[in-house]
Symmetry: C2
Subunit: 408 residues, 2 copies
């Protein structure tokens, strides 16, 4: 099945290279296809690493080993396999990951736990060790390639390659951050089938990198949803090679810490939005802005209840300003809410305020807004100061076609 | 929009009349249609009542008043409005409900709180008081009609009328139970846009009727889901007229209590299944049987995580035995689970056992099972004795067509 490029796709941006991060790709042929499906990124000695992983209780061996090895704070290489998630494959699957780690570690003369591996694709089929071995061998001797090549090689059902970058001034010097990501279905907070990698030439202590990544994750990757489904393999890793020459950021108080964290947040938000833009069958990009909640976390849960509601998502697909379905989704969230203080709007226009339809509500401009590609849903709960924005896409025939009409 | 009858529809059964429960219908014309949309059921003096309601925090006035008045334990009448949910309509909406209660109470010379009202349909438009007044007047003077007439009159987007019955021997006498229900979308546990009414000629103390209804609800209405969306109006009420001549059931120890509770459970399960069979766009009826969970409640949550997963539901629509998606849904449920003890099967055949695909797994008979109309998904978590069965339907183009392509 050849998927059409999402109508919400963005062109791959011009991204700077990051000294100390060298990208190579190869064909492991994990599936019966003729494309690069193994990505190898070599990292300079002393590279710091941080990571956030799926909360699935059925996580893959890659995720289990990644969680363990993040604790060391150091990375020398990343290997990403596309076409096989190697999840639910027991000890066979774990052996395949350990083989890749050992093979790369032997090449780099580093500890195996400094090699990070991700896999994405079909569940339940152990990653074939021979293909992995040959693929890694081919990648080790391949010529360096671009970020776009890597973003393409890590993709599975994605319809376009996804990258984002930002920079920050640290210690008077410019540091660069680039990110690539894959994911389009099985996307929910706690990150779904989403693999994201961020590389920076800043010099960052692992603890601070981890803290900054977790903070960015909370308001970006954890605030997107396509279908509410969470994958067994989700991973976002951040690598800091420290090659920029800027002073090391040790903690929140180091000069440049705020600027770096802001740039990291920026890259994460861009990447998260790209995943929503490639949501299976998506025709509209939806921002759900919740204010007046009991707390920020409560606002996020209400936002996700709306963003995951099939009835809200189909209404928007049908360009129907059906605020009654939004009321329903607020009500089912189970978070503090008061029907008679609730306000709901679209595109900056309130349809209902304080529990009642707005007098003389003119649906015209709202209907016009709903025809656009970017839909803004505002919900004010009127009971506190908590706020959050959640991003999602609409639910269309395309989603059914991709997931039901064709076999995976 | 004329909806086609669900392929999973069942014919309306032959249902006995219940002495002391008289059904009448009328045309209130809450929408621009020419059909009965107001149902009035008069109940004998001394009728006991019990009820379970939506947990939505944005519930309608009907639900608020129903919750309050259930405490009295006595009912003389039920009025159901179809075409307007009267939800999110503030004090205007509440006044309309109170007007109906007062009007019927005046006719019956009974307290207003013995009159129960439900409304279903569009959200955000106050129930028009003049139409309600004329509709109730017309119903009060109409000739009695059948359960099927009532089941049709309470429907909104339903594609077939739904009824179920059972009987039990209490005190050597046969007591009858009949139920009618409406609902097809916005269906989730905590009951969604579902209105269900059960009538029996048994003589039941209100406290026991409430306890028996709550028990039945927990394993029936609370175990179905169509789209995970919960309505603002869900209501199930049970009325016992006590006209059968069988001895009164005061509590769990009364003779016939077990038999009555079993029959009530039977009617509730039948009614719940009918709602799933009319799930918007449904082409397959799916039972998800979860065993080996940490507790029954944990099993129910895992079952609902599977039954609400768009990826599982689209896979089944596509007749794809995609057990990897079931693993995903187990993992995201957040309930105790161990990847390496998890087993998954379809139609009585295990596809994966103890965290690994079954050796020499033959997809043939499973593929055959998936082609049928009744799909059985079995999940054994292998960690405890908790069990639950959850029922749902598949997610098809029909759901999108009903909810996106046409305005509600």
């Amino acid at each position: 099945m050849e998927l059409e490029t999402s109508p919400l796709a963005l062109p791959f941006p011009d991204m700077p290279s990051i000294e100390g991060a060298t990208v190579r790709i190869a064909r492991a042929r994990y599936k019966d296809w003729d494309r690069a499906d193994l990505t190898y990124i070599e990292l300079a000695e002393g590279t710091s690493v941080a990571g956030v992983f799926t909360k699935s209780l059925c996580a893959s061996s890659e995720v289990e080993l990644g969680r363990e090895n993040i604790a060391h704070g150091t990375a020398r290489a990343l290997v990403v396999n596309a076409g096989n998630a190697n999840a639910f494959t027991g000890y066979h699957g774990r052996e395949a990951v350990e083989q890749i780690m050992a093979q790369v570690a032997s090449h780099l003369q580093c500890p195996a736990e400094h090699v990070f591996v991700s896999s994405t694709g079909v569940i339940g089929v152990p990653l074939p060790k021979d293909k992995a071995r040959e693929g890694v061998n081919a990648a080790l001797s391949a010529s360096p390639c671009t970020w776009e090549d890597a973003a393409t090689a890590i993709s599975t059902t994605d319809t376009f390659a996804k990258g984002a970058h930002a920079s920050a001034i640290v210690d008077g010097k410019t540091v660069n951050l680039v990110g690539i990501i894959k994911g389009s279905g099985m996307i929910a907070p706690d990150m779904a089938t989403m693999l994201g990698y961020i590389f920076t030439d800043a010099d960052i202590a692992p603890q601070f990198l981890q803290a900054a990544l977790e903070t960015a994750n909370a308001s970006t990757f954890s605030c997107i949803t396509v279908d509410g489904d969470t994958s067994t393999s989700d991973t976002v890793l951040a690598f800091a090679t420290g090659t920029s020459g800027a002073a090391r950021i040790e903690n929140h108080d180091s000069p440049g810490a705020d600027a770096f964290a802001a740039a990291l947040n920026d890259v994460c938000r861009q990447l998260a939005h790209l995943v929503v833009r490639d949501g299976e069958g998506a025709s509209k990009f939806i921002a759900v802005r919740v204010t007046g909640a009991a707390s920020d976390e409560s606002a996020r849960k209400v936002g996700l209840s709306i963003a995951n509601s099939p009835l809200v998502k189909t209404a928007i697909a049908g360009e129907d300003a059906n605020w009654g379905r939004v009321v329903m989704a607020v009500g089912k969230a189970g978070e503090p809410a008061d029907r008679d203080k609730l306000s709901i709007g679209f595109g900056g226009i309130w349809a209902a305020r304080n529990g009642l339809p707005v007098d003389n509500y003119d649906e015209g401009p709202v209907a016009e807004h709903l025809k656009g590609e970017h839909i803004d849903v505002a919900v004010d709960l009127g009971i506190g100061n908590g706020r959050a924005t959640v991003w999602t896409c609409d639910l269309t025939h395309g989603y059914i076609a991709i997931n039901a009409d064709y076999r995976s």
